[in-house]
Symmetry: C2
Subunit: 338 residues, 2 copies
Amino acid sequence: MDLSDRKLKILQAIIRNYLETGEPVGSRTISKFTDLNLSSATIRNEMSDLEELGLIVQPHTSAGRIPSDRGYRLYVDMLMREKQEEMEQLQVELNAKSQKLDTILKEAAKLLANNTNYASLITTPQYRTRRLKFLQITQVDPENLLAIIVLEGNIVKNKMVAISTPVDADVVLRLNLLLNSSLQGLDLKEINLGIIQKIKADSSGYGLLVGEILDAVAETLGEEEMQTYTSGATNIFKYPELNDSEKASHLLYALEEKKQLTELMYSEGDNERGIQVYIGNESPLEATKDCSMVTATYHLEDGVYGKIGIIGPRRMDYEKVVQALQNLMQELDEILKK
Amino acid sequence: MDLSDRKLKILQAIIRNYLETGEPVGSRTISKFTDLNLSSATIRNEMSDLEELGLIVQPHTSAGRIPSDRGYRLYVDMLMREKQEEMEQLQVELNAKSQKLDTILKEAAKLLANNTNYASLITTPQYRTRRLKFLQITQVDPENLLAIIVLEGNIVKNKMVAISTPVDADVVLRLNLLLNSSLQGLDLKEINLGIIQKIKADSSGYGLLVGEILDAVAETLGEEEMQTYTSGATNIFKYPELNDSEKASHLLYALEEKKQLTELMYSEGDNERGIQVYIGNESPLEATKDCSMVTATYHLEDGVYGKIGIIGPRRMDYEKVVQALQNLMQELDEILKK
DNA sequence: TGTTAGCACTCGGTGAGTTTGAGTGCTAAT
DNA sequence: ATTAGCACTCAAACTCACCGAGTGCTAACA
């Protein structure tokens, strides 16, 4: 049996209708809904075929049909191919008043959630490959030094270092010189034990102090602080099929914990550019078995990227979501590249 | 009609029992449950009185009784008075490995939620009255200066300032001297327009540059970035009486938005030290009409404080919650004062 | 006078039986 | 190849009787 054009049209009609109503859709509905001018009986025959092909299922005998995961998949794939060119803008407007990255990201998540009525999540970008621009040690008070670390792209981190013995100003000055000349321009990965040993050796006399500081710096840099922000978690209550306490609770828990979802978003290695769609059981995550998830990647500059995702019911308006994601990605790119 | 000791005991028994089961409790249960050795009939009479006093209510004729908001209130007040002295420790152990305030606070919220099985929230402390310890300007690259601001208590903030014209090293040095001598030791409130004008006047020649920097500094300090972290939001699904989508959705939305809840926590002005309890409709917030909320204040040092709160069902184990809050406050005090 | 036993009454919850209606599959006619 | 017609299915909604926990009241009791 083959997938005639008519069958595809019927499948599409079934999915569209189901997206709207959330109810199983019957032959009569389709017969009226489409412009194919076919009777419900004919539709029934076709539906029977579609079911045999595994694209739609009946929740129980004598109920209408709903799309299966495979059905959605086909639909999404079709969509993606079609919508490649036409691009009606969906208004997504990031207000970049604040320069702070995390504020922008949080706002982006919120925007996305509000625009789509699904839950959204977004991660901070990964800086693994950034180079150290410079490093500055300052004496704050007799017991504390402040280490300020500036990375390429003007990412600033700081760390208070409690020191065991007071030092005076010119030592701090020399420390700065030493550390900067040794570390400047290095990749975070390159600042490893070897280098640290070498610096300690070079620092005639201040070995202990230098050690303390380097440890602190390494620790600060090591804090891989990828964060994930979520928004619109409560949107899921808008969809009756997720709105039972069992499912909602699991899903919300996953959104609160974020860890698993974040991992999932980063797991699809190859597909770094472009949009990834998980439909129902395609997701390895228990909590999202009854949902669909659409993820995308935004790019800051070469090699530095973060992820955006949307979670909603299986009957998600994939068209709109993909649209919204693309717009947002574009806007993020613009703002972040400044 | 008076509140005899016996009535109090019965009320207490009713509440205790209801806290456990979540079901309306009947006279027979109390008759067995307490050591008063009274028949159910007697209990019924007493319960009838308690109902007349507005301390308990029947959800419908021929059902057991459940505590009213007033009943809970009485119970909580009794509890608070009694438990003033005895203090069995509840294990609350903050792992202070990271020095970063927000990490500690997030962990505190999580801990609290896990220990109590309710939802928790915590705000970052307010620094309004902190003094400027010192300020440092560093040249990062030809177009950018980095302003680092250290406040009392070693709170570090930083801000990148894009400058219109490049400057050389000794100008930066003089800037540092000027700004520090003018601003050091000042309260954030004291750094106002007047002072800024005066500094600009003093900065013969660099007026424009100084202006840019001061604006940036003021902006950074002005960013009153009180944040609220929540945890354990999904715990509310554990309580059937909150576990209907209408209520849960509202509550979770409030927890996601945080704004209203934060305002509420800070609204009780006078009660700055100590623990505040809102039972059901006592709260002005629509979203928590079916919940109880217990809030407490933790103190960093004079005048600097933040809030912790717990949200759960009306039948919250107030005893445990108050206990947990007190322990956590104590622990926070210790860690944060370092 | 306070406590108790007994009894009639109330009402939410449960479960069995019934009805309804949307939807299907099959067959025969077009 | 399409359609009209019809018998069949089954979840959802509704009805109804019954159960039992719990009450209020009254009368008896210590």
